[in-house]
């Protein structure tokens, strides 16, 4: 088992009254699996993603349970050990490719960042070679030109591809994708989904796909978690959840998928 989340909970303590935003969350993720987490805004799905990446602040919130990545608890790990994992074993792509890249740094440098930090034995030429390999692998045309560009010279879709390349360059085992296509238009969205599926097959990287879009989740995931108000509503294989949902909330969500019927 690559990732096991046990009795996980988050409680915010930054106001007078503690606020529970995630409660009793249990799930696991195998090597090479794609797990979709779906839920409305405020369901705690993004927070769960951030927690697995070890990006939650250490203060002002209480974390319960355990998040085991290859048996090690991400929540209670030494900071230095966590840094070893981050960028190397666990990577993340974000919703907004506009702000996820540093505007003052060339693309090449940003893609190489994980190598610079985790693979100090690599020299500049090897780093560049690996970065270019990944820029091509995310289907960017003219990878050499992109390598020397700044983020503002690229389109949104290209930027998200760059983010995927930057995340994958170190060869992680888990990729957390937090609404990676929400800010993109529909055609680009479909391309990114196909790209993620291909990378998942070729690299055997597990993907945690966080989204509010059920149809996307259905396309890409093997298994699905449905969350509402910080609680797990239902989990199971994607086709089973869609064909015979057990919970009322899941049924409502599925019924809310917009259908285009041109015959009527």
């Amino acid at each position: 088992m690559l990732l096991e989340v046990k009795d996980f909970g988050i409680e915010f303590h930054d106001h007078d009254r503690p606020e529970r935003v995630v409660e009793d969350l249990d799930f696991s993720l195998d090597t090479g699996e794609i797990l979709g987490i779906v839920g409305e805004s405020g369901s705690g799905k993004s927070l769960t993603g951030l927690a697995i990446a070890g990006l939650l602040p250490r203060k002002k919130l209480k974390k319960e349970g355990a998040i085991l990545f290859e048996g090690q608890d991400v929540l209670r790990m030494e900071r230095s050990a966590l840094r070893e994992l981050q960028g190397d074993e666990i990577c993340m792509i974000f919703q907004e490719p506009m702000t996820a890249l540093n505007p003052t740094m060339r693309i090449g440098r940003q893609v190489e960042e994980a190598l610079r930090i985790h693979h100090k034995e690599m020299d500049a030429a090897a780093r560049k070679e690996r970065a270019l390999l990944w820029l091509r692998n995310v289907e960017l045309e003219d990878a050499e030109r992109v390598y020397d560009s700044y983020p503002h010279e690229l389109s949104g879709g290209m930027r998200q591809r760059v983010c995927i390349a930057a995340a994958m360059v170190g060869g992680p085992k888990l990729l957390i994708a937090d609404e990676p296509t929400t800010a993109l238009d529909v055609t680009v969205q479909a391309q990114i989904i196909r790209l993620l599926q291909r990378i998942n097959e070729e690299e055997k990287v597990a993907i945690l796909f966080v989204s509010h879009d059920l149809s996307l989740i259905r396309q890409i995931s093997d298994n699905v978690l449905v969350m509402q108000k910080g609680r797990l509503v239902e989990k199971g294989p994607v086709e089973k959840i869609f064909s015979e949902p057990r919970e009322e909330y899941t049924k409502k969500l599925i019924a809310a998928i917009p259908r285009v019927n041109l015959d009527e």
Binding site: R83, I90, A100, I117, C163
Partner: protein, 271 residues
Amino acid sequence: MIKKLRQNPDLLFGTIFTGILLLIVLVGLIHTPYPTTQMSAADKFAAPGLMHIFGCDQYGRDIFSRVMEGLGSTFVIALFTVLIGSVSGVLIGSLCGYFGGLLDDALMRVNDVLFSFPSILLALVIVSLLGTGSVNVTLALGIAFVPSFARIVRSEVKKQAALDYVQSARLMGASHFRIIFVHILPNILPVLASSVMIGFNNAVLAEAGLSYLGIGVQPPRASLGRMLSEAQSFLFTAPWYAIFPGLTIVLLVLGFALLAEGMTEGGRDAS
């Protein structure tokens, strides 16, 4: 470059004014028309003319030569003041903005206290503790300039730290040090650059103010502020004594302000 200058009059005039004054400072380092302390009874209050283009003061010293020297020390003091202020301000501000919490609260409250005094008053206090002289004045002004830089940098770092690319850098396993200095700092450079420019102007004025009060550069070295204060008594007998040093200060500040304005405008067009 030339085309850019032509489209941007602020930048053009800023470059010209600052360039001329910088040239005067550089020439003044190796050569002045007259020795700056050479007195001459015959030339007492000589009017501006071919021999002395800015005229002479009450001891018959050549005002142009003294302006050259004074401009040089103003330049150097303002430069180091801004350097001290901005480097410490960047350090304090980025630590506060990035980490927040108790450190931020503590340092920013100290900052608020310092900020509540006008910087010239603060500098006066520090000078009275350290003693007069150009090194102490630079130090005092530098310290007095830290709070404003710290505040600007802190808010900018806070803004940047909330963006995904910082999150993403953290996720790459980058250390806090690396995130602050490699990832965030380049992104606040435009803001920092313009506050350095404004800071330089404030430093020029503050330095002139302090030497006007007699606690900056010590005589016999020339300083623009002190020349102004001496010229006050001879405003009607020798108006050029006040006009030329005053004009130099105005040009210096105006040139730098235009340069800063022009550069931000140029930056806006580029992005």
